[in-house]
Amino acid sequence: MKSSAPIQSWKYHVSILTTAILVIVVGGLIRNLIIKKTEHAETSVLQALQTEVQQLKTSLKRNDLEAISDIVALAAKKAAPAVVSITPANSLALPRPVTTFNDYRIDKRQQSDNGETLLPGVSGLLLNASGEILTTSALAASGKEFQILFADGTKHAAQLIGVNATEHLALLRVQQTDKLPAPPESAATTPIEAGAWLIRLGRSPSGRQSVALGWLEAIRRDAVGRETYFLDAEFTPELDGSPTINLDGQAVGLNVFRSDLGKGVMIPLPHALTVAQAIRTDAQAAPQSWAGVELQDLNDEIKRALSVSQGVLITQVLANSPALRADLRPLDVVIKAEEKTIQSARELTELIHRSPVSTKLRWTIVRAGVTRDITVETAFFDGVNITVTPSQTFGIEFAREASANGLAITSVQPGSAGQRFGLQAGDLLQAINGTAIRSLNDWQRQQRALSPETPQLWLIRRDEQSFVLAVKAGGKAS
């Protein structure tokens, strides 16, 4: 472009330009400021929002917790009418079983609200309008007459109908069946799965409700196919015999204390009801046959190792049992029973149970590659044989917690076998006959495996010293 004479003076141009530049600069600065401020405001709004969300979350969680207690309270309320407290009618009888943790039922007596001395008791579940109550078999040792306390405070007398000790259940019946509260809806049909939240609902002799919330940890099936449900809910003494309810207030099982396991477990209600039915239909429960073996199904490796093609492995021979008398030993494989080949543990168990008491069963076993025939005469099983408790046999109590160092003895009854042989409270039992003892289970297993007549060598640790005591079971305590 060729230059042309400017029409206006350069002062004019400069002033225009300067104004324009000023506008841009100042305006830009102000704009920047405003934008920064809005951004700042936005971030602080954002932060405020975030804090609020956090608080909401926390309060929600808190509400969740409160909701949980509401749900539990509601479920307990629904089921409460059918949960009873059972105490022996005879005030002098002390109830068994003994739990291995400090059982204040033995030592203490509870006071009710109006000062009456109460007897320690267990809980129970009212089954139906006929007044039948399902509870733990432990109270069978307390006689046959009991007093039932209901949620509304009413008391009824009840009698023991029967006991199934293997199943740890007992059935009572209330005499006067009028004016009984309604039994809870049973949830017998819906299967419970591990992880489900459940509530142990019991009643103490004072009428107070015992509520323990937990979840189903595991379901164990034993060789006979019986299921044991392990809840991680607390198991206090009065919860023995109490029902387990789900969050809807429906009873799903019965809690019993298994001294062989040293903990409380839950028996699923369908099974418990079947047992109740069995108890009911033969009030004089037909004696059940028993052989005294613990069985295990064979897998391919065991078959190869023992050179058998089918059968059932005996893992334990219990004390005082027909099997012991027939000289059966652990690791024997039962391949035939009564001319029939045995394929599974269940088969053999059913065979034993079906046979009347005192039947001579012919078994064929394989031991160390050698086949031989054995005769096992079934005996009557009253369930007590299996359960060996320290206080029964030796008059001692062990600590509840197992430890790697051994089983601690918490008390020794005066005049008991244990005291006679020199056991003291505070002793640590580390081994029996060379086998390390780390838990009550270990102890039980040893006791079952050994004959009660033979002395056992107990390795004791006391006051930093280890020594061996030869003890002998003093027989059952009552």
């Binding site: 472009m1 324009a20 841009i24 405003i34 405001a41």
Partner: protein, 403 residues
């Protein structure tokens, strides 16, 4: 398909399309537009949405160029002659449009915010479409002159009233909870002023730079490089600064024409080189729109389209009468102002971020209406120019004149 191939296709097909429609006595831009429709997602989908978005830069450049050219209107001599009258006429046209559209939409059941926004957007007249038609028709005469003059002022006015309208609506809607009304109003006013005054100031500065620098460059081609480059710089920079590229480029053009009178031929030269850009612009505009948008505009959309034309016609009629414009202007001005496109779409898109709840409705109406207007508008313009007797035979433009 590579983008390069696409652009080439666009150009070639646009030419074909443009020529085809000429047989129907329809301005070329409509042909470009149809090609765009055809290439776009509505039909052959050769131009995908992504491709269209990627080529948006062309549209921006095109808009910047056209507004730069329009800025030439603000030459002081010209302004002195026709400035006042043009201003008043523009006001007439604009108010006519706003009022008619606002009332119509309100009657059709829309809320006042939407009706106001649409009324304001309706004032927009597509500068490119209009100018291209006029160029094609090689028109001369009072009507043509008036159209050129009005275009500049009208589009500035459109942006201003748009800003004011959004400001008003935000004011009434209230600001953030923690700021007082004063502060909020203050902020809004600032942004409004910044958008307008700031853009002008920026345009002036760059215009000065252009003028000074341009004087030193002898070669014609280099001047073009400078101008084009500056325009692009302005368009880009304004986005970053929150200014209006349209106003800034217009101010730039205005500054240049006033600082260096001989730059008029520069504008002419630009006019010779920018057709490809405009062709691309229109094809893209067509590809941007979808035929389906016609279906959703509904009664409000039709009302809007009609009301807009009516508003312009009425406004220009009364304005021309009042201001003693020649008959041709009075009768036909409104109809030359029908084309409606780029800036309107841009404003509608802006609304998406400002008033998201209204943006849907408004976008739907605008897009559908633009579709109609871009097809119908140029035709009407041509008819109007023809009736006004200002059409000249198309002069032979040498096709390969050395730039």
């Amino acid at each position: 398909m590579s983008n390069v191939l696409l652009v080439g296709l666009i150009l070639v097909l646009a030419l074909v399309g443009g020529h085809l429609v000429q047989y129907l006595r329809v301005p070329e831009v409509v042909g470009y537009f149809f090609i765009g429709l055809f290439l776009g997602p509505s039909f052959s989908e050769i131009l995908t949405h992504e491709a269209v978005s990627a080529m948006e830069v062309f549209s921006e450049i095109a808009l910047g160029l056209i507004l730069f050219s329009i800025g030439a209107i603000f030459e002081f001599e010209n302004l002195k002659k026709v400035g006042k009258r043009t201003l008043y006429l523009t006001l007439y046209v604009m108010s006519g449009t706003i009022v008619t559209v606002f009332l119509t939409l309100l009657l059709l059941g829309n809320n006042w915010q939407v009706s106001l926004l649409l009324g304001v957007i309706a004032t927009e007249i597509s500068p490119i479409a209009t100018i291209l038609v006029l160029r094609e028709l090689n028109s001369e005469g009072p009507l043509t002159e008036t159209v050129y003059n009005i275009l500049a002022l009208n589009n500035v006015g459109c942006l201003v009233v748009f800003g004011v309208a959004t400001f008003l609506i935000r004011l009434v809607g209230g600001g953030e909870a923690d700021t007082s009304l004063f502060v909020f109003a203050g902020k809004e006013i600032f942004f409004l002023l910044w958008g307008i005054v700031g853009s002008v100031a920026f345009g002036i500065i760059i215009g000065y730079v252009l003028a000074v620098w341009g004087k030193r460059i002898e070669e014609h081609g280099e001047v073009l490089i400078l101008v084009l480059g500056m325009i692009l710089v302005v368009v880009g920079a304004t986005h970053w600064l929150g200014l209006s590229p349209l106003i800034a480029t217009m101010a730039m053009g205005a500054t240049l024409i006033n600082l260096a009178k001989e730059s008029q031929h520069l504008f002419d030269a630009l006019g010779k080189t920018d057709p490809p850009l405009y062709a691309i612009f229109f094809v893209l505009a067509g590809a941007h729109l979808q035929l389906s948008s016609l279906l959703v505009i509904g009664i409000s959309g039709i009302g809007y389209t009609v009301a807009r034309v009516v508003g312009k016609a009425v406004g220009s009629y009364f304005g021309a009468k009042r201001l003693d414009y020649p008959d041709s202007v009075r009768k036909y001005l409104g109809f030359t102002l029908v084309p409606h496109a780029g800036v309107a779409i841009g404003l509608a898109l802006q609304l998406r971020s400002i008033f998201p709840n209204y943006a849907e409705v408004i976008s739907a109406i605008i897009l559908g209406s633009v579709l109609i207007n871009e097809v119908v508008g140029p035709v009407i313009t041509r008819i109007a120019i023809g009736r006004a007797g200002e059409m000249r035979e198309e002069a032979e433009t040498p096709s390969f004149e050395a730039i």
